[in-house]
Symmetry: C2
Subunit: 462 residues, 2 copies
């Protein structure tokens, strides 16, 4: 076989040991917090039936699904159609028409739709409210660019089967807890889809709610003028746009904003409900002394159409990298799979962006614990035989340890220990074997001591 220059598909990544240790640091904190709030893990397969995935993410989403070629003679279906259907030849040369014949599975695009599918499929085994978390990769055939990958991890936490606003409060606590432990100062933006519906209703454009939220969601990115331009283009009346201005520009503290908003929305039942829900969430949050700032942000819509209540988004205060966590309440996610009227609320942490934030802020902890802590230098066969049982004892004490496998030159072995950032190297030659003692070199200070194995272990653990 010819030699190949190895590479990986664009938009995908290898994770080296140092990256793995850092990513696991993030995942472990997130998992630990999820569990502390009573959420349990599930996992779903990488592949889902295309019937589960298609039509759930809009046209754009359908296009970005990675589709898997059917196994075996995947063209059999199309060939067997040939005699019956004269159009089979044209199907065979049209990507869109051919696809359903040759592909029935796709890679998951997010964790929300597989979760909805899971809940419906397993509804008889599940006790509701069902609090679950899920940390797995997802795949999107998006154009790769800085910070955007074709394979990336989502960390989702959802509770399904409860209307209580306590759930929203708890999710904000989780956000606060996770970012506090990670050492990231975060700002939690909160809105409510019902407020947005109320606004659309009040200005007489109830059927344009999607256009309005999509446009005002861009306020921070493109500015007020451009937002108004877009609203105009979408056919929102001049009058309605004018009515929108005081709402988009609502200023002041929460206790000033809420009465103003209630006054503006008083004719809209749903709008008032949205404000009341948000007030209740905020009241609870105030009691809980969060580390993070939280604020009402009426421009927050998160471009997604399935939210029906609270909408949540988190940004890092010190770094302009966009949303690092987001989510909201959705009232009928499982309806499409035959289980209507089940309300859920959930958020998703963006592991890749969190990684970038920690890296830029230099907030990753010392990695030494995850790597080898002690290395035995290898002086040859006799020493090797002597060292192996000692190595076992050190490992039994819970210390990560290894012996350099070959009796190479000292320099090479030391350089290996250095590169791997191993803090202690043990040297055992003739004299040490005779005296039943270790020579231990501290690789950070260069200091060298003679010490008994039991002393070394005790010192290390203490």
């Amino acid at each position: 076989m010819a030699t190949q220059k190895p590479s990986i598909p664009k938009g995908t990544r290898d994770f080296s040991p140092i990256e793995m240790v850092r990513r696991n640091y993030i995942f472990d904190i997130i998992k630990n917090v999820f569990q502390k709030y009573g959420y349990l893990p599930i996992e779903t397969p990488a592949m889902e039936n295309l019937s589960t995935l298609l039509g759930k993410y809009g046209e754009e989403g359908d296009r970005l699904l990675f589709k898997i070629l059917n196994s075996g003679d995947y063209l059999q279906k199309i060939r067997s159609q040939k005699s019956e259907d004269s159009s089979s030849k044209s199907i065979a040369l049209d990507s869109n028409k051919l696809a359903p014949f040759i592909s029935e599975k796709g890679l998951r695009y997010d964790l929300t739709v597989p979760f909805a599918r899971y809940v419906v499929q397993h509804r008889n085994e599940i006790t509701f409210p069902f609090k679950r978390y899920q940390i797995q990769p997802v795949w999107r055939a998006d154009r790769p660019q800085k910070g955007r990958y074709r394979e990336f991890f989502q960390c989702d936490v959802d509770v399904i089967g409860s209307n209580s606003l306590i759930n929203e409060v708890e999710l904000v606590q989780i956000i606060d807890d996770v970012f506090d432990r990670l050492g990231i100062v975060s700002v939690i933006k909160i809105n409510n889809r019902k407020i947005l519906s109320g606004i659309a209703e009040i200005i007489g454009e109830a059927d344009k709610i999607t256009d309005i939220t999509v446009a005002i969601d861009k306020l921070e990115k493109i500015g007020l003028e451009k937002v108004n331009e877009e609203l105009n283009q979408k056919g929102i009346s001049k009058k309605a746009i004018k009515q929108l201005q005081p709402i988009i520009n609502l200023e002041g503290k929460l206790k000033e904003k809420f009465p103003k908003l209630l006054e503006i929305l008083k004719e809209s039942e749903i709008g008032v409900k949205g404000v009341e829900e948000t007030m209740q969430i905020m009241r609870h949050l105030k009691d809980l002394n969060l580390k993070s700032k939280f604020k009402l942000d009426l421009t927050l819509a998160r471009g997604l159409n399935y939210y029906t209540g609270a909408i949540i988004e988190v940004i890092a205060k010190d770094i302009n990298i966009g949303s690092i966590c987001g989510g909201g309440r959705y009232d009928d996610l499982t309806g499409i799979f035959g289980l209507p009227d089940v309300s859920g609320v959930g958020i998703s942490f963006g592991a890749d962006r969190i990684y970038d934030v920690l890296k830029e802020l230099n907030r990753f902890p010392d990695d030494t614990k995850a790597t080898t802590q002690v290395m035995f230098v290898n002086f040859g066969e006799k020493e090797e035989k002597y060292c192996l049982p000692l190595l076992s004892q050190i490992r039994k004490a819970g210390i990560n340890a290894e012996i350099y496998p070959d009796a190479m030159k000292m320099k090479k072995q030391m350089s290996y220990a250095n590169t791997k950032k191993i803090p202690f190297v043990i040297l055992i030659g003739e004299n040490e074997m005779k005296d039943n003692i270790l020579t231990v070199k501290n690789m950070n200070t260069g200091e060298q001591v003679k010490i008994l194995l039991s002393e070394f272990i005790n010192d290390f653990i203490a």
Copy 2:
């Protein structure tokens, strides 16, 4: 959109919370042991270029790869060929011929080939010997059956760039350590490809080494007679088959077997080398007081052609489920990717089979620690507001806790706690709020006590 009955692709699985907790128990022990021996984690993408995967697993393997349809207009290439090439129509209707035009990526089939690709691609960042572990799912379009899935996890640990037999010894120690911690009594079978080569040489059938190893690998499954039949069918001479018999049936203790074997193989340099390597590994193992039994098994070949030295396979002593771990030394895995003469040795733990063994032996530990430990009953808005800060305090103490989110009937809330196996339920009504005290119900004993929050936390942690 019409209602769909949800399902997942055949051969794939959802993992529910209880399964996740148990799987994580296995993975955590395996990871922990790997780290204790100085191995570091890496991860590679689910998708690899087909050029990386094809031709590495034999014809059968190529057929079992899951191929991913190119994004966008995947038929463009084939259509643009049409004018130049009159055969394009026939290509478009032939699955094998069309595939290379419409698919360039596949899902990884194992962790070994992606690891080889990783090592070559990152050779300039890696310090050799490189000790890595990798725990990720792999996908094979195999016919699903009991215990065989289309998506399953492999736990691989390899060291690459060292010829030392210390590495083989260490891997056997890892096996011993993992199964000891899991409470599985294991038998570690050891062989050496060089011994097998020596045997083929001695009986004058050096070029039939693959046929011979494939046949004698089946000894336990199909018996000696059928093995000899297969050898005969493969064109091995009657004389050679006769010469093979004492070797296949080699009996006795290790210290009797080795001299016999050295005598039989004395004319074969490679055979003698294989025996000496195996003796050295066994000598080291004897010093290390392993919990597991280990034995020489000359019928062990593991059907794989890339092993060049030690071959290792582990079975559970108490359950007849086949191999639960296996591996060996390979001398030129990275050659195909342009990095020749790098020797490696590694093993792979089969998480699914280990799961089945633990389940059948009833060896999974109590799952209670992974789930919620304390639930607050929800009596209504006022109580909710009172409970939330207490809940925060309990969580801060490191206890997994939740409040039932809705003020449902007591019975429903208790039933939720029961199903979720939550050991303690806290009830706070009028009286408790007035007295600043908790009523705590032990869900296992039914016992109910009144206690201060601080006392409860102290008792719980103690």
